[in-house]
Amino acid sequence: MKNVLLAACLMIGTATAAESFLVPEFDPTGLEPAVAQQIAEFLADLSGQAMAADLMAAEEAELYGQAGRLFQAYGFLSQAVESYQRGALLDPSQFAWPYLAALAYSDLGQQQAAINSLRIALAIRPAYSAAVLRLAAIYRDLGDLAAASLVMRSVEQSGSKDPAVLAALGEHALALGQPEKAVAYLEQAVAGVPQATRLNYLLGQAYRSLGDRPKARDYLARAGDVGISPADPELAVLDEITTGEILHLLSGRKAYRAGDFAAARGYFQRALAANPDSVRARVNLAAAEAESGNVDQAIAQLEVVLGAEPDNVASLFNLATLEWGRGRLERADQLFGRLLTLQPTDTRAHLERARLLIQLNRPEDAQLHLTTAKGDLVTFKQAALTEIEMLLDQNRVQQAMSTADEARSLLPADSEVALTHANLMATAPGGLRDSDGALELARRVFEFDPSPAAAESVALALASLDRCSESVQWLTRAIELAGQSGLDTARLAGMRSRIEASQTCRP
């Protein structure tokens, strides 16, 4: 039912100072009760203050601004804009109202209005970096690179070393088709904030434009979702306003997906504070705690969830994984078992339980789960590789070879599967060994993907043919490649020493 909060207050206001405090209409139907209550109480409070006899215009503006913040924090953007407009009209010297209105306009897709508001805001506080960078970004969005460049010129001249500013300058240079300049700024920004993995994408594209493909691929391989923004205290205030669970959950999940687990933890804690009975808040908090390295806290949260909801499959999976990590294998197995009773088609759970059962020395049980996991496209490869490893541990080389054949027939283009197959062919006993086939396969993979693992497989195949000195050369190559990639080289060096020391090097 349509409802106008504060209607009564508005109607009876005699308004000695404020003629009437006009709160925009909005419909609270369907809102989380805590949110509806917070908005109602907050607006009633503002309205009460507005009725004070000696209210100055600036004070009334502040009340409208606060109403705007509240609406904006909960995503009622039209109402927020309306409130900010009233605030700005009453107190044109206040920076926050036109600035926050600009953000709301932008979210509403009204970019020209956003520009106008940002210009008003920047006339009041020209050095507010977040506003300046937003203005340039909107101009770029509109295709007006000239206007964006004009804005960014002042930023460039400021000589700021703030990584967020440097990143923005790099991004702008890239938009202008100036990859060298972009690289210079972006590399400085990344050096300052290495966790801002999204910048690696921009660097990758800049190097691609410069024709440096290896460097481009190197950066692109490290590209992620975490961006970087300048400090924005006005925006941070919005975050502090909300008390409901939902918004904190949404923000937490966004931070979690971006890999910012500390921030995610904070949001989920606030969601839980807003609703201590919330299972979803607790499950999410546990995940963020686990990702932050707080395993005990994560387990404690999950135990609470399972106390309330014993069939919560997400908690069962996560708790099983954490218990396994702590070495409590039997407990982890029980949890996986309960999960699979509830959700028998969960192939990821089948795969993980199989791995656990192998560790528990129960290969027959593990095999059953691996067979199920191999039936799904998503888990096939890992299940097949796990099965091969398990069969080799049992000395069932022929069966391992069969699984490798099966995996190769389904994944002929997969380097990891091909190298596993090659290594098997090179090291299998008796008639199962096919050293020439292994060498051919490993060389083919190396040509396509010159990785340390591929070089090692070539070396292994050569050793299998007793071509020891060539094998040593390839191991040296593997060690170099591993070193370049920052991988541990000790195992490869040990293998090389053994081959160098032996007359015959057949494994």
Partner: protein
Amino acid sequence: MFGRFCYIFYDGQMRRISALCAAAAVHAAYPIHAQTLIDATDASGIEFVHQTGATGAFYFPEITGSGAGLVDWDNDGDLDAYLVQSGSVTGNSDGSPVDQLFRNDLDAGDGPGSLRFARVTEESRATVAGYGMGVAAGDIDNDGLTDLYVTQYGRNVMLRNLGGGRFADVSAESGTDIGDWSTSATFFDYDRDGWLDLFVVNYVAFSAKENPSCYAATSRRDYCGPSDFEPRPDRLLRNLGNGRFQDVTLPALGEHRAGPGLGVVATDLNQDGWLDLYVANDGEHNHLWLNHQGLRFQEDALFAGVAVNQRGVAEAGMGVAAADFDEDGDVDLFVTHLMGETNTLYRNDGDAGFLDVTAPTGLGAVSRGYTGWATRWLDLDLDGWLDLVSFNGAVRVLETQAQTGDPYPFRQRNQLFISQAGQSFVEVPAAESGALGQLASSRGAAFGDVDNDGDVDVLLNNGNDRARLLLNPRTPRRWLGLRLVSGEGDQPGAGAVLSFDRGRPQHRQVRADGSYASANDPRLLFHWTSGQQPQSLEIIWADGTRQSVGVPATGRYTTLRREP
């Protein structure tokens, strides 16, 4: 005034958008009094209301369907209509709505006024129930008759065209009855063996039994997004030529991170003569599958520059349009996205990869306020340059509409962008955009010349609303319509590229895919201006064979057959 600069319109205000645009815009900008598309639904005989089946449980599939098809399945020279129905996520029962087929009874001799469709669902025997998503079209058995593949939330359906306007369900025996949540699909001959293979795009692992509760920032209950679910892997099915398809996903694509896919096109993006695949994923990296001579595919979207936008942010890919919009000889990509993001135009720069040119071409800010679905490059103003349409509809409750008590607060207007000589685009203002200005929650749209008058019309499926037939009311003066066929059965020449020189070469590919979850007219249309003259035609068939042909009679459709 319009001769030198590009303009963009906001709230009735007009302003110049950029120096780049100004330099490029040598042609007159969009004439603001033009009508764009007219709504011809009432008189057409197409009566179809899409049903999402929404019950208030906010089941995710309710917000994603459905598509449409414009396919000449009876080979009588005009496009028939297929409209995909949804129904109930928890299961349709007897009496539930089914997909609808409409036969086009166009009498070409009498002009567009005689356009009339007749409902033929029952007699066609193509009564597809289930929760429908999309439709793809292709001749799977090389008999010259176009077959249909219907994607569903549930089991997909392959409809073999028996001729005489009748179909048979061959899903199980053909091995194409994938039971997942499929959205778009495309038929293409990836290994050049002469048989059309099938690529099926899958979305996420959703189960009505485990329907999670999701919320808007307001804390109001709302639809979930793809990140709330695990993405499902797409599937590549090889046509064995004996009525059966073999799943070759793993051997051909290898292990890869699955994406929540919605849109797809099969097209040669690196100009090596082999058809590649581009998949628009919702909120995750898009996939670019480069075809290595029909043996395997390599995913290389990130390096190519088409995985994410210019800022490195993955966007919510919905529909895809592929064509050479700037006429530089290679295929460019346009992807529609979620409200708050821009749609994205990736310009193909050959060896240098793709460049996100959304903002400099004027397509950035104008799309931020809309969630785009179906999209297509089409020459709507008949000046020879490809314009662009985006059909829009929200997936999250629009608070401004919810506040007014709208029971279906997902409605948005559609958008038309007029090409400025292939360099930039100008949006036609809402007030000038004719039937495109109607508010609806649009999803799939099929594009084709329904009345055979030489321009592209649209069959639009709107979520929880009436489907619309939108006609281009213009009368083209200089046009050429071509239908490419090959083999004894006159199979449609899917994947063939035609190069048409009218003083400057235009390249167009025979394709029925693209848009969103829809099957489009595979015929090719070319327009030119008074100062230009048709000079030559060259066909590059899907297997790489080249064939030069004389320019046939203009102002009509001509069938071009492959030389034996």
